[in-house]
Subunit: 461 residues, 2 copies
């Protein structure tokens, strides 16, 4: 990577070991937001992060309660006349299951070559840490930042961001600025630097099917009553056709079709279907008919079961008709689908097709709107140049298949233009066993962030 | 219940507390055969049972290793000229899951009114215990039994009876006799005394669907690849039609249709669909079109998922495409379906309909043939009279929906006529939480068994 000016580069060159150690301390806190069993750990991560921000030299640091997990806010506002940048990240992580598939314990960071393995190593503790290290290096060497800065770090991103809007409403004065950087994204396939220009939305739901009052003997009662697992399978199977199209009536009504330009942009990205298929270990890439893999994985909506359960899962057999069964489901949404409308459509459709003899409940589990950013903005130009100067090639402009409900809030409610920039490796096993961060991306990312801040200061109108 | 002759009745009247305590000791041993974690407990149950048989006064008691769980054999052969009766039961039990639904721990027997709650309280430790208590009472009061007796108690009935045939082959000389009583059955709905004249067979299989190399992020990869849970649901949904008919080609080819006489016999049984539906807590009784509930639950074949799993089952959400999913499946079979042929049909059909983009494996988990007994036999007459004399009403002749693969072996391989008799309450929650035995059935059952033995001695040709 290209070096930056001497005092900062010297400071950074001397501190790599300390940075990995600090990052490891952060990763060791199991801040799993979705599981109440980890609530105290999430709180501990917030406190740790507050202390870390003070050490880095931020002026005002505030760890505030929300009714759920804390929000961590910090700012440095000493750059009179320079633009103000709001940086968002999240310090909570996904549950670590299935534990048996980790090669090292998920909350005992392990450095293997240029990788560090741990839950949260990429998503999203890497990006948070990169920004904090950049700020610390600048304050330690220059004594000031080129821009005014507000950090907003959330603790519920992986659990539906339940209390975020309320906190934003109550803290509007802390969110004034010129530009927002949402740093919960990463690089493109092949670890190529990228700026994200679109995110899918999300609609989460849980389906519960209830049959007999409890598990009952499948010999004694088999044939007399509906089986909740069979019924749940019938429901799930009806949600998608063999052409990969989702069969919920009205599901595609609000989808803005990909334009010829969109499809040309997708086609221009360097992407190898065969290598991707081999990496994932699947016999075939499949999905909605009429679209390329890249289009399907970020430009088109999806419906996936995230988990299913019912009856006996242990060793050997247990000849029962389960008393109940359930599944967690998410749809990824694209502009202009609305998570609320999609949920209502799903619920109505399931109630219509539910087989007789069971009771079916469909409950919402949160959602977020899809977003699409403009690339015609001075901040995007400055960020692109910073990435090119750091990584030696211009960033790709990509659509991301994941969802950050917060982005729509920033854009719409706060009126801030958003740059989606982060440093996760594209195959970093986010939400999966053996999540990892590329430590070279980490180190280069710190330089890139410094260049972004310098670029913003130089190019803001 | 009607009393029997004074010395035996007096002996029994004085021993009820001791019998419940002994039964409780048996129930406290968690002899779960399907789960390897309980192997030592199953062994302990066999040793306990051997000791119990010695205490009861049996002559030759043998706990023999099989490569799996032990077989317990005991005999008393001192009734020269009288018929020889082979009595089968099993001392292993189903897994106790789901543990949270038990009102008391499954292996701490709890007496509530006339019920005793524990895993195995009815299926099948009750029947074994009733027979042993009857023998003990007879030997203690008369000094002899009216018939020659061989007990064969299995430890793998709930796990596929893997080593039974091998043991039978090696112990043929111990199984000579005139009649076999299979005591792994019970009473009809309403707790009405019954003799079972048919059992369904069973075919067990496990389906595994594999997608990406591990759980992956549903945003990043959603749309690009098939989801193993969605694929598994598609497979399961295709196995049965909305008319309740199983769609595996050839599935019904060998089914002997119910005759007019069969259907008339079903129609004559006292059975209330509404009460049954209410007991089970389901909105509707459903199954194969064109058949009554009673016909469906014992006279027609079934296909039920016993368990399903895949992805995240914890609190909150986890936005993943699971790396794999699986399900356990059983079919109950009727004459003349063959479990091997049914498995092959299932496997071929699943391989044919499996959606693209995943790998599917279908593995056999054991099976047993359906059986249908004749009711024209002196032993059946004697058993029916014994039940009528004990319970004050003639037994119903019923078909049972459950499966005892052993019965076909007894009938075919050993050439023994079989009487299917037992005392479990029909709603005893076998294979389910809060399994229980009716202690009145238990006490009356002891008298009934004594009358059966006396009746066999009096009526054998």
């Amino acid at each position: 990577m290209a070096e930056i000016e001497t005092p900062v580069e010297s400071y950074l060159a001397a501190g790599r070991e300390r940075r990995i150690a600090t990052f490891g301390d952060f990763l060791r806190i199991p801040s799993v937001s979705a599981d109440p069993a980890f609530a105290a750990d999430v709180h501990r991560a917030a406190e740790w992060l507050g202390e870390r921000l003070r050490t880095a030299g931020l002026d005002h640091v505030d760890v505030s309660e929300t009714g759920g997990h804390p929000m961590v806010y910090a700012d440095w506002l000493g750059a009179a006349g320079a633009p103000t940048v709001v940086v968002y990240g999240h310090y909570d992580v996904q549950p670590p299951d299935p534990l048996a598939e980790w090669t090292s314990p998920p909350f005992e960071p392990a450095v293997v070559g240029h990788r560090i393995l741990a839950r949260g190593a990429s998503d999203d503790k890497s990006n948070i840490s990169i920004f904090i290290e950049a700020v610390q290096a600048l304050l330690a060497t220059r004594g000031r930042l080129p821009v005014n800065l507000r950090f907003v770090f959330e603790g519920e991103e992986e659990a539906g961001s339940e209390h975020l809007e309320e906190w934003l409403e109550a803290n509007r004065e802390r969110l004034g600025g010129d530009i927002a950087i949402i740093s919960d994204v990463g690089f493109f396939e092949g670890n190529l630097p990228a700026l994200t220009i679109a995110l899918r939305g999300i609609m989460s739901a849980e389906i519960t099917v209830t049959g007999p009052f409890q598990d009952v003997h499948s010999g004694v009662y088999g044939g007399a009553i509906a089986n909740p697992v069979n019924a749940l399978a019938t429901i799930i199977a009806a949600l998608k056709g063999p052409d990969g199209r989702i069969r919920i009536p009205g599901f595609y009504d609000d989808v803005v079709p990909l334009s010829d330009d969109d499809r040309a942009a997708y086609a221009a990205l360097p992407f190898d279907d065969d290598a991707y298929r081999e990496f994932l270990g699947v016999p075939e890439l499949v999905g909605e008919a009429g679209h390329t893999t890249l289009e399907r994985k970020s430009g088109r909506p999806t419906l996936d079961i995230n988990g299913i359960w019912g009856g006996y899962q242990g060793e050997g057999g247990k000849t029962i008709i389960p008393g109940r069964a359930g599944a967690k489901l998410t749809c990824r949404l694209v502009p202009d689908q609305d998570p609320g409308r999609i949920f209502e459509g799903l619920k109505a459709f399931i109630e219509e097709i539910a087989p007789p003899g069971v009771r079916v409940r469909v409950e919402p589990q949160g959602g977020g709107h899809p977003i699409r950013s403009s690339i015609d903005h001075w901040a995007v130009d400055a960020a692109a140049k910073a990435l090119e100067d750091t990584f030696g090639r211009p960033p790709l402009f990509i659509r991301e298949g994941g969802s950050i409900p917060f982005v729509a809030t920033f854009e719409q409610a706060l009126g801030l233009p958003v740059v989606l920039m982060g440093f996760m490796p594209p195959d970093g096993n986010f939400h999966a066993p053996n999540e990892w961060m590329d430590l070279d991306n980490f180190e280069a990312g710190i330089r890139a962030v410094i260049r972004v801040f310098d670029g913003f200061a130089a190019s803001a109108p």
